[in-house]
């Protein structure tokens, strides 16, 4: 593809995203204006919600699973494997984290490590193992990636409530009575509004580290170069002597690792796994896919989009607590999903890695 075509593509994408970002900003400004002019109206309430520190802090917390799943999705898809099973990875890690903590005993400490952290790592491990299964199925056995991804989701959706029923007699686990808690940084946490960044769930700090780290790995390291080449032009990568399959395995396993952090943080932040209907993950893995498409496969952009979706979720939860507008809660709950739909409709024509979703045959790995 010539540079001009790429540039043109980039321009259209940028204009899409610029329009969307501009749209979001103008909606916010409109709410702010209306809220300031009519402080006692619904707009005043909305403005109060959007600018409150507790909304920011819950938006940060809610963006953790989406952001981590999105980061994972970027690595996998950049390497050439479409991982639509992120939802399943979140479910399996969320469940494993809670059940491991429960089995170890929430109050216990093993070699200096509190049980909840053992659960946290067990959740990550389960997600990595599950993504390894997905990787083998897709890369070694050349399964269709979409169907295999759906299978990963549906297996997790069946397995977690099944195992919970075996152990607890119901699809939800008991509450552990303990959570990951919050890490508070003195002084900084006293800053109004932005102090929420320094008085947060440990996973929030991990997220704030993982986003730039992912960007760095992807764009500034040899491994990142290999990952990108594996998705864009596997043949070239093969020609220079790098094993494409290995890079793809690494990409998928990394997606399992990252999604695992998100899933563990999700359930351990609450201290419970909720397994009815779509489980507590409730579409976050799919929202994550839209988040990284919106963020154009850039970790920082994906975080921005995840934060936007999580912010809507946080505002939506707070909005339910505002009495007197007669809008049913269930309808307000659809706001994040509708937004995801609109965003996807607007950024649908994203330029994805050229060889993503295709099998790559080295011709000599079939022994």
């Amino acid at each position: 593809m010539s540079t001009t075509t790429i540039d043109r593509l980039r321009d259209t994408e940028l204009s899409y995203r610029a329009t969307l970002a501009g749209g979001a900003l103008s909606v916010f400004l409109l709410i702010a204006l209306l809220g300031l002019v009519f402080p006692s109206s619904i707009w005043g309430n909305l403005l109060a919600i959007l600018t409150s520190r507790s909304t920011l802090s819950s938006a940060l917390r809610l963006s953790v699973p989406i952001t981590f799943a999105a980061l994972g999705g970027i690595f996998s898809e950049k390497a050439g494997v479409v991982n639509i099973g992120l939802e399943g990875l979140l479910i399996i890690s969320a469940f494993t984290a809670v059940i491991t903590t429960a089995v170890v005993g929430p109050e216990m400490t093993v070699v200096g490590l509190p049980a909840i952290w053992i659960g946290f790592f067990a959740g990550i491990l389960s997600s990595v193992l599950f993504s390894a299964l997905f990787a083998v199925v897709c890369i070694r056995f050349k399964a269709d990636q979409i169907i295999a991804g759906l299978a990963v989701w549906l297996i997790a959706l069946g397995l977690a409530p099944f195992a919970a029923t075996v152990y607890y007699g119901g699809v939800n686990t008991d509450n552990l009575g303990t959570t990951l808690g919050t890490w508070t940084i003195p002084v900084l946490s006293d800053i109004p509004f932005f102090g929420a960044f320094f008085d947060a769930d440990p996973a929030v700090y991990m997220m704030l580290v993982a986003v730039p780290a992912s960007w760095y790995v992807l764009n500034r390291t040899a491994f990142g170069r290999h990952v990108r080449a594996s998705g864009e032009n596997p043949k070239a990568l093969d020609t220079v002597g790098v094993d494409v399959s290995r890079v793809r395995y690494a990409g998928v396993l990394l997606s399992g690792f990252l999604a695992g952090i998100g899933g563990s943080a999700l359930s351990l932040g609450l201290g419970q796994f909720v397994g009815n209907n779509q489980t507590m993950v409730n579409g976050k893995g799919f929202i994550a896919i839209v988040a990284f498409l919106f963020g154009n496969y850039n970790p920082v952009g994906a975080f921005g989009a995840s934060f936007l979706f999580a912010g809507l979720e946080a505002a939506q939860i707070r909005l339910q607590q505002v009495p007197g507008y007669g809008v049913p809660d269930s309808l307000i709950q659809t706001i994040p999903y509708v937004t995801v739909l609109v965003v996807l409709a607007l950024v649908g024509r994203t330029r994805i890695p050229a060889a993503s979703g295709e099998h790559y045959d080295t011709g000599d790995d079939n022994r």
Binding site: V82, L150, P161, L341, G348
Partner: protein
């Protein structure tokens, strides 16, 4: 997402594979899923606690015995024709028109509709995961339509003959329109249909919940549900027992639809357009097929079949719409994949999966293994059908297939360098 092109290539490959091979793969996938399920049952038998071990392997006791679980499952789904743990083996009091078998056929009937819905979209190269949402809203439309129209119709057989077909059509229409939304988003905005349909599932569940809880709720009930329909406006069991919620009429309608959809896909020019846009989109465009319109129409058709599934769920099973609709749409994915996305294959696949679903109740009752086991098998079956290459490698490794040429019929591209 590019996966569309890749998916189309895979679908093309799948269609090129011989029917025999497809049946073998589905069968092997089912067997493998059952085996992995057995391991999961054994492992969960270690997690749970019990007084006496159900089985002992390698000196370790397990609370659940997988062999017993599957025997109970199969036997329960047929209404216990066999006496397990009894030398007589056959149950002399067994009657084919029994409760357990009615449950199996009930599940089968519903799965025929959702399986067909998924099959139509998959054949068109569209991954419609939204059958669930289409079913939820289609079912709700059927229930509300029946409730509003029933008072002006004569009650009894005549009223039923007028109302039931109309109610099914309304369900189909609403499901179809809801399915056309992701179709249009795909055709005109290139929005990946996997994600849009999943988002629309969430939205459908919430909208239906709000509509019923705020406007159409049954005042005499604590749960979110509509007022029950009059009996004459529902599909009542004919020969089977009352509690089984199975109407042979609905199954007959489903089977007629199977033939209809098969005819539409295989024998009409629309079906040809639909299949070629799924298998060879470029060729279809070149041949003058309006790809965008075909996408929207296919999704409408798929949604309409899902909506009809919802209508049958309301008319045959519930007699009302109730929140917490079972995940029949997701089961439909398994049924369609097991059927190789072939409408005719949907019937045996629905029967197989229907057996698993209804038998799981007997399993929960008889052995204590939670009925959610079926949810695990649902995913495992999809996973194993998705990896035909695995079975090919397995086949060549143990050399059970002397005529490997037939296997290569799967469209040379990959078959060539298998060795």
């Amino acid at each position: 997402m590019s996966a569309a092109e890749n998916a189309k290539a895979v679908l093309r490959r799948l269609t090129a594979a011989s029917a025999t091979e497809r049946i073998l793969i589905s069968f092997a996938a089912l067997v493998l899923a059952v085996l992995v399920g057995a391991v999961i049952i054994l492992v969960s038998g270690r997690i749970t606690t019990c007084q006496t071990a159900a089985t002992t392997l390698f000196g370790t006791g397990f609370c659940y015995d997988p062999v017993e679980v599957y025997l109970v499952l199969f036997n329960g789904a047929l209404g216990e024709p066999f006496l397990l743990n009894d030398p007589a083996l056959f149950n002399p009091n067994w009657n084919p028109l029994n409760f357990g078998f009615a449950l199996t056929l009930k599940e089968t009937t519903l799965l025929v509709f959702t399986g067909l819905s998924v099959a139509v979209s998959f054949r068109a190269g569209l991954f419609n995961i939204g059958t669930q949402g289409q079913l939820v809203l289609g079912g709700l439309a059927t229930a509300l339509f029946s409730l509003f129209v029933a008072p002006v119709l004569p009650s009894g057989l005549v009223g039923g003959l007028v109302l039931i077909p109309l109610a099914v059509i309304v369900g189909a229409l609403v499901g179809g329109l809801y399915g056309a939304i992701p179709g249009a988003l795909k055709a005109y905005a290139d929005a990946n249909e996997v994600i849009t349909t999943i988002m629309l599932n969430f939205i459908a569940a919430q909208i239906a919940f709000v509509l019923v809880s705020e406007f159409f709720s049954n005042p005499d009930s604590q749960v979110v549900e509509t007022t029950p329909l009059p009996d004459w406006a529902t599909l009542l069991p004919v020969a089977f027992p009352q509690g089984g919620d199975f109407s042979i009429l609905a199954l007959a309608f489903g089977l007629a639809l199977v033939v209809g959809v098969w005819f539409l896909l295989e024998q009409t020019s629309f079906g040809y357009d639909l299949r070629t846009s799924g298998e060879q989109p470029e060729a279809a465009e070149y041949g003058g097929v309006d790809a965008k319109r075909t996408t929207v129409t296919s999704m409408f058709l798929s949604g309409a079949l899902g909506g009809m599934g919802g209508a049958i769920w309301v008319l045959m099973v519930m007699g009302k719409w109730q929140a917490g609709v079972p995940s029949l749409g997701f089961d439909g994915i398994t049924v369609s994949i097991l059927a190789g996305n072939n409408p005719l294959g949907v019937v045996p696949a629905a029967l197989l999966f229907g057996t698993l679903k209804s038998g799981s109740l007997a399993v929960q009752f008889g052995t204590g293994v939670p009925k959610q086991l079926v949810g695990v098998l649902r995913g495992l079956i999809i996973l194993f059908v998705a990896m035909p290459e695995f079975f090919r490698m397995l086949g060549s490794a143990i050399d059970l297939e002397p005529d490997r040429e037939t296997v290569a019929a799967d469209g040379g591209a990959l078959g060539g360098d298998d060795e």
